[in-house]
Structure formats: structure tokens, C-alpha cells
């Protein structure tokens, strides 16, 4: 796990090199072995100093999250933290210089290890990431990070880095004072690390100096007050108090920086234990890390099919979706043929890529060369023949099965036999669309989300006749373009669209009931949704929502959509021509200057009651309706695994991550409490909240809905 060597100058080099792994990860064994090594190394009176290095591409990528996931009680956690903190402090206090030779990415515990070194040298490579991203998984830096970082760079930048979990490049780290020195390459790295040791003896960390002052001002100073008070509010504002760890990080800083360093470590350990035991961190680790990892490893991929990398993608329709898919595909270095009725239209779709590239160039994230290379991969055309050697064709034409049938047949008439034909429909059953195909076994649904460049999910829909090769290819392509695939079975609206629609319809129902729209939208955000249902309706545009309602009735029957939704569309679209975002008038007004605001006249059509419901009721309704729809789809086997349901809900719908996802939500609340909640809501608001037999049985057996084990 570790190699130790001493050179002729009595400088030791401790190299991390975990056997059989591509990266170094802090496990229980790793931590124990590290402590042992440090103890032995410093017994050597001749030792001049120590360099800590890595034999891997990364320096140290952080800790084993499975280890944290399995922590069940405070007693399991505290000794582990104490041991690592003792080792780091011991290392700091030997008077002998310890230098971190950072050759690659150092995150979480990896960066914390370097912070316990007296000097940090780092290779100046923008690909190297440095950061304390624990917060993104509901944790906090637990190996002294909350105590060392603010003592090193000041309270404000430390709060920013830890509460946002930002990963920064070496240059920025150097500017902030996180690392002391940048070097060109690995050789220079070791040379400079050793040079510093030769130049320095009898070193100590600044925070062990009796006269130490926190850079930029202490907690009890005017600056400290301002920074911390504003941070408190910003955390409250951004997390809606659904995520305990950013607040806990602030507490570590506020409390820990008013006491001696070692006491600060104890405070940090208490808060770390609090968050590691919190259901929120368990949920985030389970779904956002292990669940997503499973999807990204192709958990749904048929195992016996050889890799099916896509070489050339044809895209039919160069609208917002077509243009977005073209960009995402070309960005991954794959050739694209973008077809529309006219070349001019196709060029318009390609222009989307130009705009995105220019934006990146402006931010310094892309070079002109790379832009040109990306654009050169997108060929525009109005001729179907140009798609003849594409091995994947994705149609993104208007949501009408006849139009889709026509383009499918056109494409298949010219394409190679190995073609996989995909539809980017957001709702029409794939089996129905496959009816127009000559090769329904090679027909599949690839549901992208808008805007494609930002949304990380692709919902892959398997029709009744879709074969394993088509599925394997769809998954391989999704992974090629660095998106996360979930695979679902067929049915109108599949998974994500069904859930989103019910979320939006519940919002509509509230409007109809006379709930103040601001309360609906704020309630949604407080529940953890990124945007309220009325924003979504406006973004989809209300005429299209009306179209979806009609389709839903057609496919799922008249009871699939509530009467209130139909009335809302009637008032908004028919009576007021408020079609949504595209005409700058929907539930919101979109002034040319300034922010959008809710249409003030809505109350004239749906009388707002004097007694408004409690926001908790709004939150419960908006989340519960989504959960119930997802459970229904799980029962109907549209959802194939709960993991994909959870991951898909978070990445595609924006279902709040703190819950673990739309199915894990039930286990988060507790299946019995959830059923009680459903019954209460059903009594008050209607049968759509009634828990199903399946759910009732789960509750009476007190069984979890999702697996508690990690994948």
C-alpha cells in the first residue's frame, strides 16, 4: 500500500500505491497502515524530512464512501476520526518538514492529508482537481479540513470552497494559498519538494504557533460576523434546510475557530459524525454516488453483447433537441449528420453548437481549434441519402406518430442493415412507433432532456420488440457522450414524462383550488425541486401541455388527467392566449428587462382563497404525487429497477437528491409514515393519493421499497 525510501540526504519519500487499484482511496486499512508508517518513519532520528507522494495518476482521490455509508453509530465513527487526526497532528508537530508532492487530483481526505503537510508542491496541470467536495454527498471534511483550510486561506474562501464543494485547478489553488508552489512536471515536483526540506528545519504549522491569527479576520471580528452571518443565510436560502451538511460545515468553522486547533478537530469530529449518520448523506451516497456509478457502468446493458460503439449518428430534425444532441455527440468526437427539410434549417440547428462553443471560449474553457474540430464533425444536409452510413439515427421531429413513421421509413430506406433507429419522443410509446419500422428489433427510444448540453440523463425506452443489440448500442452511445443512461420499459410517457406531468397537474390543481401561485412555486422549491410546476408548464409551453393531455387521455384513458388540468389549459391557452415561455406569457410574465414574475391576473380566473394552505401541505402534495406515480410505474414494470428510478428522477426530473430519489423517498420517510401521509392526502385531496395494494402490503410487512445495500 505504501513504499518508503530514504535518499542520501536523509529525506524520506512515502509513496502511496494501493495494490490492484487504479487510484489511491482512503479505506480503513489504508488509514491504519498510514498511521503505522508515520509512526515508524519519525522514529528515525536521522530523518531530515518527509515527502508524501503517489505512484498513481491521481494523488489521493478521497475516502471509500461505502465505509461511510456503513457507519451506523457514533461509536463507529469517532475513533476512526480520532486516529487519523492524531496521526496528522503528530506529523505536523515533529518539527521535521513534511511536504506533499501533489502529482494529480487530491480530493476530500486526499487534500486534507496535504493540508496536514507543512508545504504543498503541485504540478501545474489544469486537469488536476483539488477540492473538498464532501458536501456534495452530504458529508463534510472530517480529517481536519474544516479546521486547517480556514486557518490557511481565511474564513470566507474556505466557506466557499467547502460549502459549494468546488474542485479547483492548481493555478487557482495557488492563488488562494491552498498550495505553495507550482511545478512543471513530476521530476521537478520531487526535486522542489526535497529542496524545500533541505532549506527548512524545525518547522511548524502556523496554527500551532501561539501568536497565530486567522488570515482575513477571526470569527469574533466585524469581517467574521459579516461573512458568517451572510453564509448562514445563503446556506439556508440555497438548501431550504433540506441538506444538513453545509450548515454543519459553517458550525465547524464558527465553533472550531474560536478554540485551539485540537479542540477544533474534536468539534469537527462531532459534526462529521452527525452528518455521516444523517439519512440525507446515506441517500446521497446511495443514489448520487453508487446508483449513478451503476448506471454509468451500464447496469442495464445485456451482458453478452460485445461493445457497440457508435461511429456516425444521423439526426432527423434540427430543432432545439436535434441541435442539442448534435452538439453532445460531436463533443464526444463522433461524426454527426444533421438533417432537416432545408439546409438552412439544418444550419440553424448546427448554430446551436456554435453558440455553445463561443460561450465556452469566452469563459476560457475551450480553444478555437477545438471549436473548429467539433463543428467539422457536424455535417448538415436536407438529403436523406447523406445518412446512409450512419449506424445510429435519432429522430427528433414533431411529436406526432404519423410524422415520426414517415421519417423512420425514409431513413430505413437508405440506411445500412446494422442501423439502430431511435426516437427522441418524450411520450409516444416506442412499440407504437416501431410499428412503422422494418426492423422493430432495432428500434428504440432515446429520450433526451432539454437543454441537452446541460441535462445529464438519457432515458432509454425498450419497446416490446426492441432487441438486446439495439439496447446495448443505445447504452454504449449514451456512455460515449458521457451521459447517464437509465433503461425503462415502454408505455405512454415512459417514466420521467409521466412523473413530471403529474407534478405539473398537481400544481394546476392547486391553482384551480385558489392557492396563491407564489405559494405553489415556493413550496415546490422548499420541497427541493429545482423549479415549481408552473415554471415547467411555461417552459414546455402550455399548448404542448394541452397536446400531452390529449395524448394522455388517448393512451391512458379519460381518468389519467384531472379535469382541472383541462380547465387550466382552456383558460390559459384558449381564453388568454398565454401559451407559455415562447410568447413571453404563461403563468409568468417575461418582461424584456428584468426577471420573470407570476401573472398577476391569475386570481381573476381562479379565485384565491383567503385561507391559504400551510406550505408543508403544498410540499407533501407535490412530492407525494410524483412518488405515487413512480410506484405505479414500478408496479407496472415500466421501471425495471428502483436504482434507475431513483437516478432518473434526480437527473431527469430534478426530484430532490436529499430524498435518495423518487422511490427511495418512501424509505426515507418510512414506508408506514408514507402510507399514512398518502391516506391523509387522499382524504383531503382525492383518490389519486390513495396508496396501492402493493404499497399497503409493504407497509403492513414494514418492508423497504428500495434496497438498502449499495450496488
Amino acid at each position: 500500500m505504501f513504499n518508503f525510501k530514504k535518499d542520501e540526504n536523509q529525506i524520506g519519500v512515502l509513496t502511496m500505491d494501493m495494490a490492484g487499484k487504479s487510484t489511491n482511496v482512503i479505506t480503513k486499512d489504508f488509514a491504519a497502515e498510514f498511521s503505522k508508517q508515520i509512526e515508524i518513519i519519525f522514529k528515525d532520528a536521522q530523518l531530515k524530512g518527509l515527502v508524501i507522494a503517489s505512484a498513481k495518476k491521481d494523488f489521493l482521490a478521497g475516502a471509500d464512501l461505502a465505509m461511510f455509508y456503513r457507519v451506523e453509530k457514533a461509536e463507529d465513527c469517532m475513533p476512526m476520526l480520532k486516529k487519523i487526526n492524531d496521526t496528522f497532528c503528530f506529523m505536523e508537530k515533529q518539527g521535521k518538514p513534511v511536504v506533499a508532492a501533489i502529482n494529480g487530483t487530491a480530493l476530500g481526505g486526499g487534500l486534507e492529508l496535504t493540508l496536514a503537510c507543512h508545504y504543498r508542491v503541485c504540478i501545474d496541470d489544469p486537469k488536476i482537481q483539488l477540492g473538498l467536495p464532501e458536501v456534495t454527498l452530504g458529508l463534510l471534511p472530517g480529517a481536519g479540513g474544516t479546521q486547517r483550510l480556514p486557518r490557511l486561506i481565511g474564513i470566507q474562501p474556505a466557506i466557499e470552497m467547502m460549502t459549494l464543494g468546488n474542485r479547483i485547478e492548481p493555478q487557482k489553488a495557488h492563488k488562494l494559498g491552498v498550495v505553495h508552489e507550482l511545478v512543471k512536471n513530476a521530476e521537478e515536483l520531487m526535486r522542489q519538494a526535497k529542496a524545500w526540506i533541505l532549506k527548512n528545519s524545525n518547522v511548524q504549522q502556523p496554527w500551532h504557533d501561539k501568536k497565530f491569527k486567522i488570515p482575513g479576520g477571526a470569527v469574533q471580528s466585524l469581517t467574521g460576523y459579516q461573512v458568517i452571518a451572510a453564509s448562514n443565510a445563503m446556506v439556508y436560502d440555497k438548501t431550504f434546510n433540506n441538506y444538513p451538511s453545509p450548515k454543519a460545515i459553517l458550525s465547524c468553522i464558527y465553533e472550531g475557530l474560536q478554540v485551539p486547533f485540537e479542540s477544533g478537530l474534536d468539534i469537527e469530529a462531532s459534526y462529521f459524525t452527525q452528518v455521516v449518520l444523517s439519512p440525507v448523506s446515506k441517500n446521497l451516497i446511495k443514489t448520487m454516488f453508487f446508483g449513478m456509478q451503476a448506471c454509468n457502468k451500464g447496469m442495464a446493458r445485456p451482458k453478452d453483447i460485445p461493445p457497440q460503439p457508435v461511429k456516425k449518428v444521423g439526426i432527423l430534425g434540427a430543432g432545439l433537441m436535434g441541435g442539442g444532441i448534435a452538439y453532445a455527440t460531436a463533443k464526444a468526437g463522433i461524426e454527426v449528420v444533421l438533417k432537416d427539410l432545408t439546409v438552412a434549417n439544418a444550419e440553424k440547428g448546427k448554430n446551436y453548437s456554435v453558440k455553445l462553443c463561443d460561450g465556452q471560449i469566452e469563459k476560457g474553457r475551450l480553444t478555437t481549434d477545438k471549436k473548429e474540430k467539433l463543428l467539422s464533425l457536424i455535417k448538415t444536409t436536407d438529403k436523406i441519402e447523406d445518412l446512409k452510413d450512419c449506424d445510429l439515427i435519432i429522430e427528433t421531429v414533431f411529436e406526432d406518430s404519423r410524422v415520426k413513421a414517415k421519417v423512420t421509413q425514409e431513413a430505413e430506406s437508405v440506411a445500412v442493415a446494422s442501423l439502430v433507429m431511435a426516437s427522441n419522443t418524450s411520450s409516444i410509446p416506442i412499440t407504437k412507433l416501431a410499428g412503422a419500422s422494418k426492423r422493430p428489433d432495432r428500434f428504440i427510444g432515446l429520450h433526451f432532456f432539454s437543454p441537452v448540453d446541460k441535462m445529464p440523463l438519457v432515458e432509454i425506452i425498450v419497446g416490446q420488440k426492441t432487441g438486446p443489440e439495439a439496447l446495448a448500442k443505445a447504452i454504449d452511445y449514451t456512455l460515449q457522450i458521457k451521459k447517464t443512461p437509465i433503461v425503462v420499459n415502454d408505455g405512454f410517457g415512459f417514466f420521467t414524462t409521466r412523473v413530471i406531468c403529474d407534478y405539473v397537474y398537481e400544481g394546476f390543481r392547486m391553482v384551480k383550488e385558489g392557492v396563491v401561485p407564489a405559494l405553489i412555486e415556493n413550496g415546490a422549491k422548499m420541497a427541493g425541486m429545482p423549479v415549481g410546476p408552473l415554471v415547467i408548464a411555461d417552459e414546455v409551453n402550455l399548448d404542448l401541455v394541452g397536446h400531452l393531455i390529449q395524448q394522455s387521455i388517448e393512451h391512458l384513458g379519460p381518468n389519467s388527467v384531472d379535469q382541472s388540468a383541462i380547465e387550466i389549459i382552456e383558460v390559459m391557452v384558449e381564453q388568454n392566449k398565454r401559451l407559455g415561455r415562447k410568447v413571453s406569457a404563461g403563468f409568468y410574465e417575461y418582461p424584456a428587462q428584468g426577471k420573470k414574475f407570476l401573472w398577476p391576473q391569475i386570481g381573476d380566473y381562479f379565485k384565491q382563497s383567503a385561507e391559504q394552505p400551510d406550505v408543508q401541505e403544498i410540499k407533501d402534495r407535490l412530492l407525494t404525487i410524483q412518488v405515487l406515480t413512480a410506484i405505479k410505474l414500478w408496479e407496472e414494470k415500466v421501471l425495471r429497477t428502483t436504482v434507475e428510478g431513483d437516478v432518473g428522477s434526480i437527473l431527469g426530473i430534478g426530484f430532490p437528491p436529499y430524498t435518495g430519489g423518487v422511490l427511495s423517498y418512501v424509505d426515507f420517510v418510512g414506508v408506514k409514515s408514507f402510507v399514512e401521509q398518502c391516506k391523509r392526502l387522499a382524504d383531503k385531496h382525492g383518490a389519486r393519493f390513495k396508496p396501492s395494494e402493493f404499497l399497503m402490503k409493504k407497509a403492513s410487512n414494514n418492508e423497504r421499497l428500495t434496497n438498502a445495500d449499495l450496488i
Partner: protein, 402 residues
């Protein structure tokens, strides 16, 4: 049980609370000493008769730390038998001091007390005493802390007070204060502040701007917009009041209470004690109360305190001749008048803190004195004094002339 009576009331003029302010060279303890010595001198009471001095002071750090009330007693060379205590009920401190003094007298625990307050905001800046409420992440989180300006803007948003409404109120405050000074209506209470040689530093409220206009105020930028939108406080307030889409920021320096330096003192005693000492009571403390509302909106306390005090005293709004409602922010007073259905012509008839300033720890005592002077000037009987207070609290006192 004895009633508590007010025998006299004095205050310093209020100096601008910055280094260019007329009272910046006067230490807070100097201001306290001036009012303590003035009230004993004026009433002729010997200091040995005084049991206790209770002073409100909000920012009790640096030279306002270490119990400035007892420090001021020592500095005033009072009899060694005079005790001193400093209290902090935030903006209600000055009135709280009076209420506590009255309670003590009514309970028979003390005979004579000087109550009042002191605050040199130019020398000891507001919030420089830290505290857990707004800063400790755990506490700020549980209490959904927002700065008071955000609370005031939230009230304006919920009640639909426009920028013009609050500015208009501010213009009126300035007008009323200007007339009050022109007609020397504060003469009875004002004790000019002198330096160590007796040279006058300030003999009138320094902040009043007689030339304030609606147009002029309209030019000022809303003070709390950036704080609210950039640092998350608006979002936090909206989470407590989720029917609000957006906070309408209407308050600024011109329609909020001014930052000033000043001190005030009120002499209280029971009737028998007063008689024994040959003092003539000016008014009686008729009722006192404290209330508390939801902490994020914070500044609705005058409404709940007024409702409670009237109920306890068995009185109605119509029984009150004049009201002093601290003008922390214009919306606070507008909200008070709306919610309690009070005739605006009875409220802050001589202006308020928007025109003259709000020396945090002293204001409660100052406006009680202002109300008493006005009752006497107009030969009226009853006044209600109330202030909004941090944390959602409200305080009220009803005084009645003898």
C-alpha cells in the same frame, strides 16, 4: 402594592451617530452621567434616596461594557448606596428599564429608581458585540435570522406599502419634528450636552432635516436590496412567508430610524415615597407589557404588545390620547396604525426616530418622556408608548397624567 409614578424625565439631544456627529467626542458614560446628574439636580432628590439605576444599553461592549449603569453611578459621584444594572431588550431597552423599575416599585422591592438608557452608536457600533443569534450557524438556522431591514421590507411587501407610502411617512416625520423643535416642544426634557469645560457640544437633535421632500427621498437607493438578493436573506424570509413571490425593498436611510448618540433618564417612585421626598408626580404608569411574534418578520411587536396591554388594562384604542410608536422603519408604524386602527393624527405627533434618530438603548425612555411632555402641553391624559424589538418582541407602556 403601590402604584409607580413618574416624577421627571430628561434626555440629551441626539447627535449624528458618526465620527462627524456632534456627540462623537462624548463618551457614552459621559452622556449617561449628564442625564443622571440632571434628573437628580432638577428634582432636587438626594442620590442616597435612590435605590437603583436601571439603564438600557444594547451594544454592551468596549466602553459600553462592564455594566455601564453602575459605572455611570460611580462616575456621577452618587451615594455609595445606589446600585446599577444594565439591561438589553434590544430596541426596547429604554422602555424595559422603565417597566422593570415600575415593576420593582409596585412590588415594593424598591422605593426610588432612575430608569433610562444610553447608546453612543458612533463610538460603539451596532452589532459590534457579536452574539450567537445572527452568527452561530446553528442558532441563525433555527431562528431563520434576517436583518431588520429585510423584516421591514417584508412587512411592506405583505401589506402592500409602496415606496411612496413609506417615503411619505418619512416626510411627515421630518415635518412634525421640525415644527416640534421650532415650537420648542421638547424644551422641558432636553439637557444640552457639554464638554468637560461646560462648552455646549449639542443642544438640539442633530439629525432633523426640515427640507426633506418626497422627491428627495425618491432618489435614495433601497438599502437592503443587495443584502436581500445577493446574500440569501430575501430567500430565507420568503421561506417563512412563502406566499410572497418577491420582497419589495422600500426602506432606506431616509425612511428608517437614524443612527445617533444619546441618553435619557426617568425618575420613578411610589406615591408615598414621592410625598415623603416632597416630589410632585407627573404621571402614573398605568400598564406595561411585553409580547413576541414570529422572529423573521420581527417588527410587528407594537401591534401584539398594544393588543395585549389594552386587554390587560381593560382599555380600548379610543381611550388613548396619543401614541408614541418607535419609527424603527416607516412600515412598522404604518403597519401598527393599520392593524390597530389608530388615527394617524394621534401617532408620533412630534415626529420620531426617522427624523431624530434611534439611540438603541435610550429610545424607549426618550419617547416616553416625549409623550409625557406632549400630554402636558395639550392637557391630555393618556399615552401609549410602544417599540418593535429584535427577535419579534414588542413592548408597551401606558402612562396617565395625574
Amino acid at each position: 402594592m403601590s402604584d409607580a409614578f413618574i416624577f421627571d424625565s430628561v434626555r440629551t439631544p441626539r447627535g449624528k451617530g458618526k465620527s462627524s456627529g456632534a456627540l462623537h467626542t462624548a463618551r457614552p458614560i459621559w452622556l449617561a452621567k449628564i442625564v443622571l446628574q440632571a434628573i437628580t439636580k432638577r428634582t432636587g432628590i438626594e442620590s442616597k434616596e435612590i435605590n437603583d439605576v436601571i439603564l438600557g444599553c444594547v451594544t454592551q461592549s468596549s466602553e459600553q461594557g462592564a455594566n455601564i449603569a453602575k459605572s455611570a453611578v460611580l462616575y456621577s459621584e452618587f451615594d455609595y448606596g445606589v446600585a446599577g444594572v444594565t439591561l438589553n431588550r434590544f430596541c426596547g431597552s429604554g422602555l424595559e428599564a422603565i417597566n422593570q423599575a415600575a415593576s420593582s416599585i409596585i412590588a415594593g422591592y424598591s422605593d426610588v429608581i432612575i430608569a433610562g438608557g444610553v447608546e453612543s452608536m458612533s463610538r460603539v457600533p451596532i452589532s459590534s458585540d457579536g452574539g450567537a443569534w445572527s452568527i452561530d450557524p446553528d442558532v441563525a438556522n433555527k431562528s431563520a435570522f434576517v436583518p431588520q431591514g429585510i423584516s421591514a421590507d417584508l412587512i411592506a411587501t405583505l401589506k402592500g406599502y409602496s415606496r411612496k407610502d413609506v417615503d411619505q411617512f418619512a416626510v411627515e416625520s421630518q415635518k412634525k419634528a421640525t415644527i416640534a423643535w421650532e415650537e420648542k416642544r421638547f424644551k422641558k426634557s432636553i439637557i444640552p450636552v457639554t464638554d468637560i469645560n461646560g462648552v455646549t457640544l449639542l443642544d438640539k437633535d442633530e439629525l432633523v432635516r426640515p427640507d426633506t421632500t418626497l422627491e428627495g427621498l425618491g432618489q435614495l437607493k433601497a438599502s437592503f436590496e443587495e443584502l436581500g438578493t445577493k446574500y440569501g436573506f430575501d430567500g430565507l424570509a420568503i421561506q417563512r412567508y412563502p406566499m410572497v413571490e418577491k420582497i419589495n425593498h422600500v426602506h432606506h436611510a431616509g425612511n428608517s430610524s437614524g443612527i445617533v448618540d444619546g441618553a435619557a433618564a426617568v425618575l420613578l417612585a411610589g406615591k408615598e415615597t414621592g410625598k415623603r421626598l416632597g416630589l410632585k408626580p407627573r404621571a402614573k404608569i398605568k400598564a406595561m407589557t411585553i409580547s413576541c411574534d414570529e422572529p423573521t418578520i420581527m417588527l410587528t411587536g407594537p401591534v401584539s404588545a398594544t393588543n395585549r396591554i389594552l386587554k390587560r388594562a381593560g382599555m380600548k384604542i379610543s381611550d388613548i390620547d396619543i401614541f408614541e410608536v418607535n419609527e424603527a422603519f416607516a412600515a412598522v408604524v404604518l403597519n401598527f396604525m393599520d392593524e390597530c386602527s389608530v388615527d394617524p393624527s394621534k401617532v408620533n405627533v412630534n415626529g420620531g426616530a426617522i427624523a431624530m434618530g434611534h439611540p438603541l438603548g435610550a429610545t424607549g425612555a426618550m419617547i416616553l418622556g416625549t409623550a409625557l411632555d406632549e400630554l402636558e402641553r395639550k392637557n391630555l391624559s393618556t399615552a401609549l408608548i410602544t417599540l418593535c424589538i429584535g427577535g419579534g418582541m414588542g413592548i408597551a407602556t401606558i402612562i396617565e397624567r395625574i
